[in-house]
Amino acid sequence: MGVEHDHELGVIHAEEMVLNVGPQHPSTHGVLRLKVQTDGEIITKIDPYIGYLHRCFEKHCENVTYEQCIPYIDRCDYIASMNNDFGYAVTVEQLMGIEIPEKVEYIRVIVAELNRIASHLLAIGTIGLDVGAFTPFLYCFRDRERILDLFEMLCGARLLYNYIWVGGVSHDFPVGWVEKTYEFIDYFEPKIHEYNELLTYNKIFIERTADVGILPVDVAISYGVTGPNLRGSGLRWDLRRDDLYSIYDQFEFDIPVGTGAMGSVGDCWDRYYVRVREMEESAKIVRQALDQMPREGDVHATIPRKIRPPKGQIYKRTESPRGDLGFYIISDGSPIPFRIKLRSPAFTAVSCINEIARGWMLSDVMVILGSLDIVLGEIDR
């Protein structure tokens, strides 16, 4: 934008402007750089640049033992770290052929679902923040604090737990934890009505998110998008039901999908609303698990003294709050993994942003990015 004068006034060229969103920006949910080409306010191309948070997780895992990998895995998707550990533990257990006791299964489901609620609360709060509604963000964080307090009581950490180990969990429930969790679920279920009143059915919010950033189902499958993003496009696909792992077949819960209630199927409102409904369903699962869980049992019973899987390879995926989290583990018979690959759901979500955000305005890019719910720790590893 210099001070050069163009002396040729014959033809006026309208050039496309290249803007940089990030890497430091209040709205990009982490360090993500989007190189946006715009024609006025309309986007013509978006090129995401990632790698600002790359911490060489896969290389580290090739130098430490299987147990020592778990803190690294926590730090990949730092918002839902229970689900990360869950996926890893389930994969290694299948590779080694370990059967774990029922109590441990229930504990894992309870903490994973509580973490799913916490993660969705953050997603909902930040999409409100992107649109300009500051208050729902603080309400969501207030409720998230209560979940983090529960986790702190359980294992001492608020965000990165190192709790679910291969073959079991690290601690049993302390005295009084189950009662506190019941209290939380009783408190939380009516709160969803509060979020609905304030944000979900607010006319301005609907205008900002309905019909914006539509993701068709075939594009979603080709881009590998899964989780609430795929369910928002209308396909009822959930790994807890369709690719069963752990004891999810013992619980009754619905799988919400986007129906285009406020606009078209697969728009930002649908993805957002799927998350709101999923919180309700997770609360139901936690309640059922607490009711059904056996109170006696040793959580350390089947933790192997030394984790030394037999030579082999396995790929297993589990449902994290962002989609299907896959682990491809190659073992060569030693206690140190040969190769661990983490297939992250948010990686696929960011890759399709060029496809869905083209033709929309700059303000919509933030809303679309918010509705995809990405976390850079997982994308960059």
Binding site: I50, G51, H54, C56, E58, K59, V219, I221, S222, Y223, G224, L235, W237, D242, Q313, Y315, R317, D324, G326, Y328, I330, F338, R339, K341, R343, F347, T348, S351, C352, E355, D380, R381
Partner: protein, 166 residues
Amino acid sequence: MEFNKIIESINTDFKEGLLPIGEEAPTDHIQVSPEDWGELAGFLRENDSLKFDSLMCLTGIDEGTEEENLGVIYSLHSMIHRHKLEVRITVPKSRPVVPSVEQIWRIADWFEREIYDMFGITFEGHRDLRRILLPEDWEGYPLRKDYIFPESWHGIEVPKMKEGWE
């Protein structure tokens, strides 16, 4: 669909005798050469009874410092038929070239860029193959087993001693 039926289908409808059958043959994955892969990928996606429309994961491996091969592993899945397939391709370190499938499964665009970044395997036919996680001017392919960590980058030294860390 069962694994043997998938093998049968590929052997009959795509290319006769492409995959080995019998006692020696692997029971959970198929091994394909890079030359066949380009067309086989299209076939796996389009064929009605197979319909692998989802590439779940793309993993690169380095078979070891003594070995001379790199590998790529495709984990495929069909949303319609609910069956899975694992395809392994091995390429020599001297010429690591694999045909690109980014036009077939769009997620392969970024997955292949990541493998190029980490292993140095070039994907032929990829429209925009550049590094994705590391800076554009990085030298070396980190996830290879014989990777040597650099001493410094753009003037920033990599500290070797851990003094002062306790």
